[in-house]
């Protein structure tokens, strides 16, 4: 299987000498869902944010591969090259992070901001095929009638669906999902994950997902990466994840 992302020796120190990520090595395949589990504060979010450079890595390589953009080292980019590379990485956030004052359609079209010229974005004169794809994605995420509603009028589950549509609107080579279901109720969580899995498979996009719910991780991921203390302590198939591993990842065993 070819790799979509190759991380080598990734280290992040928010304060010098106190690394949150300790020389991480991780290779992500060109399709399927990889779930990252681990206790809060262990660097899962930092890892995802280093990949699209919302957080500056301290050391290491983050090679994004394939696609029309060719191979790039995300860690080395800046300015225009960084923006072009970011277009290739979609991101879904825990708190959806939609622009609340904009309509659902405008939020979905945010996924094209890296592609269309500024005047088109300003005047809402998006190319016909972009509008068409936005409508298709809204249909696909189950919000066909909501294009003109303001984002702050939606429920949490609906907002996350818009968030997923926005990320897919970029036609990304890689999708990052940072705790996408942690703000949702159990039923909506399953529905959203179900949909994310289905759409990512249909688009052929690999997904890296940070998730606290181990049961959901095992249910939807084809690979589970367990992190603890800024390092990877488990990497394997869901069915190979045993209680002993969970105890190693989260510490203690009384809760198991």
């Amino acid at each position: 299987m070819s790799a979509a992302l190759d991380i080598r020796g990734l280290t992040k120190e928010y304060t010098a000498g106190k690394p949150v990520l300790r020389g991480l090595d991780l290779s992500i395949g060109a399709e399927g869902i990889t779930a990252i589990i681990g206790p809060s504060g262990t660097g899962k979010s930092t890892l995802l944010r280093c990949i699209n450079r919302l957080v500056e890595p301290t050391r290491g390589e983050i090679r994004l591969k394939g696609g029309v953009g060719g191979d790039v080292d995300m860690a080395k980019l800046s300015g225009r090259a960084l923006r072009l590379a970011r277009r290739r990485i979609g991101m879904v956030f825990q708190e959806y992070n939609l622009v609340e004052r904009l309509s659902v359609m405008e939020n979905v079209l945010c996924g094209r901001l890296g592609y269309v010229p500024l005047w088109r974005a300003w005047l809402r004169k998006y190319p016909e095929q972009d509008i068409e794809r936005a409508f298709q994605l809204l249909d696909a995420v189950g919000l066909p009638e909501h294009a003109t509603r303001r984002a702050d009028a939606l429920s949490g589950g609906q907002r996350q669906r818009v968030g997923i549509a926005r990320a897919l609107m970029q036609r990304p080579d890689l999708l990052l999902a940072d705790e996408p279901t942690s703000s949702l109720d159990p039923r909506t969580s399953v529905e959203v994950l179900e949909m994310l899995t289905r759409l990512a498979a249909a688009e052929g996009v690999p997904v890296i997902i940070n998730i606290h719910n181990v049961a959901l991780a095992k249910r939807y991921a084809r690979r589970i990466v367990g992190m603890s203390g800024g390092a990877i302590v488990f990497d394997g198939k869901p069915e190979d994840l045993q209680d002993s591993h969970l105890s190693q990842i989260y510490g203690g065993e009384d809760w198991l």
């Binding site: 923006r83 277009r87 945010c110 901001l113």
Partner: protein
């Protein structure tokens, strides 16, 4: 601390603040001194009130005979206010964004904040005097002076509004690969647009009021007419002008109040 020391030491619930007491005494002494220096005795107050009564008597009834002069002055004031507000707002938008520390780099926001502080430091009448000296008598000086005041006020409030936005929304739009201007357009401005409109209406009100005053220093508008009437002791015309100004301001408050109400 042992029981013995507790008993021997006097315990006070409130410590006396000798510094504050001495300061209060000094302020009192200065007030008496200043009043005596300025001859603000009881006698002066009685004379002043008598003069005031005569002045008020001469202001009544208001004299609207020279209404053409009045209307001309008012229209010029309105023009100064509207022009200054629009130009001021167009400038405040980029200045405010560049001053917001959460979206502009420090080397940009620092100098821009200093520039805003300079705009705010001088009272607009002083700025108007400076512009009258620089560009000559008339409305141009008034417009310039009120533009400076508008930029100082609106861009400062606007920058503060921008600093309070949710950065999560900004982060999400940035992560799609959007450029700086696209991020401003899609993630920053939608969050502050309604507040900017609010500041704009307030500043229009404020400029209407201020534009009646810049005329006194020769910068155009109804203020010039008012000052001339004072100098000629035409107090009945003065009261007519004051009534007209009050009417204009009330009308402006009413209209902007309606607009604000409709936006909600």
């Amino acid at each position: 601390m042992s029981d013995a020391t507790l008993r021997t030491t006097a315990r006070r619930a409130f410590a006396p603040d000798w510094g504050m007491r001495i300061f209060g005494l000094l302020v009192l002494v200065y007030l008496v001194y200043a009043a005596s220096q300025l001859d603000l005795g009881f006698g002066r107050l009685v004379t002043g009130l008598g003069e005031g009564a005569r002045f008020l008597a001469r202001m009544f009834p208001p004299n609207f005979e020279r209404w053409e002069l009045l209307v001309e002055g008012l229209l010029e004031s309105i023009q100064i206010a509207v022009l200054a507000t629009v130009i001021g707002l167009v400038l405040s938008l980029p200045v405010g964004l560049m001053a917001a520390r959460n979206i502009a780099p420090w080397w940009l926001s620092g100098p821009v904040r200093a520039f805003i502080a300079v705009c705010r430091s001088l009272h607009y009448v002083i700025v108007a005097i400076l512009f009258v000296k620089a560009v000559g008598f008339g409305a141009l000086a008034g417009v310039f002076a009120l533009v400076v005041a508008s930029v100082g006020f609106v861009s400062k409030l606007f920058a503060e509004a921008v600093e309070e936005i949710s950065m999560k929304q900004v982060e999400a739009v940035r992560s799609t690969g959007a450029g700086t201007l696209a991020v401003l357009l899609y993630a920053v401005l939608p969050q502050v647009a309604s507040r900017f409109v609010g500041f704009s209406l307030y500043q229009l009100d404020s400029n209407l009021r201020n534009s009646t005053l810049v005329g006194i220093v020769g910068a155009g508008g109804i203020g010039g007419t008012l000052f001339a009437a004072f100098k000629r002791f035409d107090y009945d015309f003065v009261s007519a002008i004051l009534i007209a100004i009050i009417g204009l301001i009330l009308l402006a408050e009413l209209i902007s109040g309606r607009i604000r109400g409709a936006m909600r």
